[in-house]
Subunit: 165 residues, 2 copies
């Protein structure tokens, strides 16, 4: 076990964290609705995205890396999806052809809040990034959430700018 | 020609913009050094990343999309790389299984500054994202560069948080 893993916040009893699977469809869609508009995500479309995410591997310094790393926290007692998030691993030229991890779409189900699941999830995704070899892991958040991410070992680094048609 | 393209800032005479190619090796490495530490990027490693970037395609609503879209602006008179940047296209579940574009690693060579090449490059990458079907295009920047990106049709959206080991 690495030092990084040893300091990870423990999940409450009965909860596990693992890579997202096709069986998580309904719980993931419901959980993401806490975050933003999910829209019309059919089971077929969900399955095809899981297949695509799972297939998108590349080689980095002799090891296989998944570009997409969607995760879920599962309440194994109630058999419910409690939280979800992803880390996308980008191959760059800069920093010795280094990798940058992008944490995206963090959502904790309203039925499972107040249990530090968000912190557990961020720590897990950050570890996935660093274990893949990322020299940094970044994410964008609202001003009101910066204190939460500071508790997860993140620091302010810049401004997110957005363009929509 | 779409409305978006019609309003694109014109490149100065003699400059072109196109997808990055293997022949751009030296100019790209020199140009990226303006931005940050590039480190030890051999020609062989550069070529393998170009191959990987070119091969990483996926299907979105019946069309092929490149996940990585590295571009260069070339001064065809001096035969020099003048600027470089990339847009990574992320497949999400949210927003009807929508796409989000991430603009990364924008650099303009110090020999070619003051010619609005940065603005041309950002407009091009933004168009690549929207033409692929992105519902939004985002980027992270320093506070001091926000006014530049506002001129390129971007708005403040949040805070970039970063974690390093």
């Amino acid at each position: 076990m690495t030092t990084t893993e040893a300091t990870t916040t423990a999940l409450p009893e009965g909860y596990i964290i693992r890579r997202m699977e096709k069986q998580d469809y309904e719980g993931v869609v419901d959980t993401l609705a806490v975050l933003t508009t999910v829209g019309n995500v059919s089971k077929k479309k969900f399955d095809s995205i899981i297949d695509y995410w799972n297939s998108n591997e590349f080689e980095y310094r002799g090891s296989k890396v998944n570009l997409y790393n969607p995760h879920v926290i599962v309440d194994t007692i109630k058999n419910e999806i409690a939280a979800t998030g992803n880390i996308i691993i980008e191959q760059k030229l800069i920093h010795d052809c280094g990798l940058c991890g992008h944490i995206e779409d963090i959502a904790v189900s309203s039925n499972h809040q107040g249990k530090k699941l968000g912190k557990c999830l961020i720590e897990k995704l950050r570890n996935v990034g660093f274990q893949a070899g990322c020299y940094k892991v970044i994410l964008d958040c609202d001003e009101k959430n910066t204190m939460f991410y500071e508790k997860c070992k993140f620091k302010r680094a810049g401004v997110e700018m957005q363009s929509r048609l």
